[in-house]
């Protein structure tokens, strides 16, 4: 009996272990798998699985738990390929496990150099896969290829110098035969870039600097004869998207540095706080759109570029990109050319009174000592949103009622040291300067300094359809499904299933730890699962057998 089950489990692996580019392109044809960080190249985090429905979601039960050995935040989104789950444990351990039982096949531990200087924890957001190779971007700025069958390293390439503040926390993106990554380090005065490596050999194929050098278009947006551009940040710490028809890959770019002192870097500071469209073969810039020129507030445009065709043909090509930005505005762009279609604030914003016809913010800086909304962690951040083509709604994890007081300061750049140019503070004198980077199990303050919400936006009109409010802020991504379920978590440790149409709560369970990744759904042997990380564990739910 046991042996038969084993055989059943093993056969499909032999047949399907290879993840070809073809399969990545058509990920929607195999919704039982989760092949890339955001599920598909369009990054909608919308699952076509339909076994779990609003009618039976109340019967979800815990199937298994994976407890990470690391006590860092669990921000990794697992991949699932034909019954095997691949995830990372902070800082840089890759693990392969049985997606139906949670038992581990192998783990591979990369020991990062202690030169690495992550700004905000030694976190990692997951893997990419091509053929039978996994790719992991490490906190000491290495790209490692790992054999998906036996967990052995295949090649390792140094992407940048960790001692100079470069790090990587993102899950790579595979396009065709290349592995694309970007570098973090926006708090250390790096010069950011997106770069691509041959998946076979690890050799660098191209490199796109997110800050143009002398002579390149855009360099003039780093005004004056200074070296500000060389230390201007513009990091890339979240996975991009890809449109195969346009053959463009899209990446959100981080804040300019020093973070809070724009006077030290006059000009628009391209391509900081922008989205760039790149040719995946050459890295050549196709277009860009900048959300926050000459940023004062650390409003990284490090969000997932969500590709959706929402039928706004009258305004544009009909191929859109949806973007709820850390700066508090929700944008619709034409992704063929980066043109601004429309945009409006999705929560309190007072640093700008609106957007011009071209999408440029009309800035209204607050007087010194006054509170700026949104605060330094943003109205949203890297937490994945979701778009459901069934409801036509875009779902954003948001921080509301949340502001900071910004105090800019002159700062000299020194290699490897933090390069911040000031400090953001709390609007409450003597009060807690939270929500901090990490959640806490005691929350008797956030109603005063910032609360969480899932906001359902109609991207056609910008209208808020519904909102699900939480007492604590949320760092959880969102998943929607073909049965109009929405799964999300939050700092409080609750894992919720909401009705994606109405926002009604259908089911919840308390997982007892900060939920800081994005839930995913997959199926093994016809059984649908939903997986989410909380605290230091990954919790996997399914229907009662």
């Amino acid at each position: 009996m046991a042996r038969i089950a084993l055989l059943l489990l093993l056969t499909p692996f032999g047949l399907h272990a290879q993840v070809s580019f073809e399969r990545l392109l058509n990920a929607d044809d195999e919704p039982h798998n989760w092949l890339t960080y955001s599920g598909t190249y369009a990054s909608t985090r919308y699952s076509l699985l339909d076994r779990i429905t609003p009618a039976n979601v109340g019967e979800l039960e815990l199937k298994w738990v994976f407890q990470a050995q690391s006590l860092e935040k669990f921000e990794s989104t697992p991949l699932v390929v034909d019954g095997i789950m691949y995830l990372t444990e902070a800082p840089n351990t890759a693990v392969a496990l049985d997606a139906a039982r949670g038992r581990v096949f192998w783990d591979y531990r990369h020991n990062p150099s202690n030169l690495s200087r992550p700004c905000c924890g030694r976190v990692n957001r997951g893997l990419a896969m091509l053929g039978d190779t996994l790719f992991m971007a490490t906190i000491d700025a290495q790209l490692v290829a790992i054999d998906a069958v036996n967990g052995q390293p295949v090649w390792r390439t140094a992407v940048a110098d960790p001692g100079a503040g470069y790090a990587m926390t993102l899950a790579p993106l595979v396009v065709k035969d290349k592995v694309i990554v970007g570098v973090a380090g926006g708090e250390f005065g790096i010069r950011g870039f997106v770069s691509a490596y041959d998946a076979e050999t690890g050799e660098e194929a191209w490199k796109f600097y997110t800050i143009p050098g002398p002579g390149e278009p855009g360099h003039e947006t780093w005004e004056g004869d200074t070296d500000a551009w060389q230390h201007g940040g513009a990091s890339v710490w979240l996975t991009g998207s890809y449109d195969p028809d346009l053959d463009q890959t899209y990446w959100g770019i981080g804040n300019p540095g020093p973070d809070w002192n724009p006077a030290q870097r006059p000009g628009d500071n391209l391509y900081s706080d922008a989205v760039v469209a790149l040719d995946p073969d050459t890295g050549e810039l196709q277009w860009y759109f900048q959300f926050t020129p000459n940023d004062d507030y650390d409003y990284d445009a490090v969000q997932i570029p969500v590709l959706a065709d929402i039928g706004l043909e009258t305004f544009s090509s009909g191929r859109q990109m949806l973007w709820a930005n850390r700066n508090g505005f929700f944008y619709v762009l034409d992704r063929t050319n980066g043109e601004f279609v429309r945009g409006e604030p999705f929560t309190e914003v007072n640093w700008a009174s609106g957007l011009s016809e071209s999408g440029r913010p009309i800035e209204t800086p607050q007087p010194p000592g006054e509170t700026t909304y949104p605060g330094v962690q943003g109205a949203t951040n890297w937490y994945s949103p979701s778009y459901s083509p069934r409801t036509g709604l875009f779902y954003v994890p948001a921080w509301e009622n949340y502001g900071s007081v910004f105090w800019p300061e002159e700062q000299e750049y020194q290699e490897g040291l933090r390069f911040l140019g000031g400090i953001p503070g709390t609007p409450i004198p003597g009060g807690p300067n939270v929500p901090s980077l990490r959640g806490d199990r005691i929350n008797n303050w956030t109603e005063a300094v910032g609360t969480g919400a899932v906001i359902a936006l109609d991207p056609v009109t910008g209208e808020h359809r519904w909102k699900y409010e939480m007492t604590d802020v949320t760092t959880s991504g969102i998943l929607t499904t073909a049965t109009d379920l929405l799964f999300t978590g939050g700092r409080e440790g609750y894992f919720h299933a909401l009705d994606a149409v109405t926002g009604d709560l259908l089911w919840r369970t308390n997982l007892g730890g900060d939920i800081a990744n994005g839930p995913i759904s997959y199926a093994v042997d016809g059984r649908q699962y939903v997986a989410v990380a909380a605290g230091n564990g990954l919790f996997v739910f399914g229907l009662r057998d």
Binding site: E72, G430, S436, D440, I442, N443, D472, R508
Partner: protein, 254 residues
Amino acid sequence: MRRLLFGVLASLFAGGQLMAQAHVGQYEQADIAYGSTLYATYCVVCHGESGDLFPGVNLRSGVFRHAASDRDLRGILLDGIPGTTMVAGAYEDAELVALIAYLRNMDTEIGGVALGDATSGQALFAGKGDCGSCHRVAGQGPRFAPDLSDIGAIRSASVLSRALEDPHGSTLPMNRAVRVVTAEGTVINGRRLNEDTYSVQLIAEDERLLSLDKRDLREYTILTAWDLPSYDDVFSEEEVTDLLAYLRSLKGMN
């Protein structure tokens, strides 16, 4: 030699035998100033300007969960705290001396609050102020109002001074009063201990710990002000500085 002396002082301090001001003057002003710039560069992004960004960690308090002596602090800075995001750093000796000097003086540097005589403050607390009729210290007194046993370790002098000057206006979010009316109509006044989207945990006036489902309640109100006595006419300026010195000396059982 110099470092050894610091170590001795620091452990006395951690034992609660020395008042807050005992440290002032033990560190070079130049070190403190240099330390403050290093702090702004390396530490502020995580710990915040006033060193209290992490719940339970207040770098200004003079009491550390992971360190008693300056030598322990040095170890933390060089090695980080495993299992947390507190990072290891390759600091040079001069940088370490400066960072520690700043940590030890951060409160005075930031707050600029004058502290008087803690022994007189203790007498005022028990006597004229009658603070003990509401606050518990070291196991004595009621528990409905915040326990002040370690208030000197978790709050800066400037925050404490505001609490005395303006008891009504200065209530921090973590000390909110809540008013609850249950489905049966029972009214409960409490101090909120914890809250999430669906439930609230509180200590009631009669010192019961209660956890309530919000959706079962007829009313749930978070009050921003308590009905507290004002000390405007009760204490002289000097007495306020004495009370502050006493509060700052309350560092809990460490």
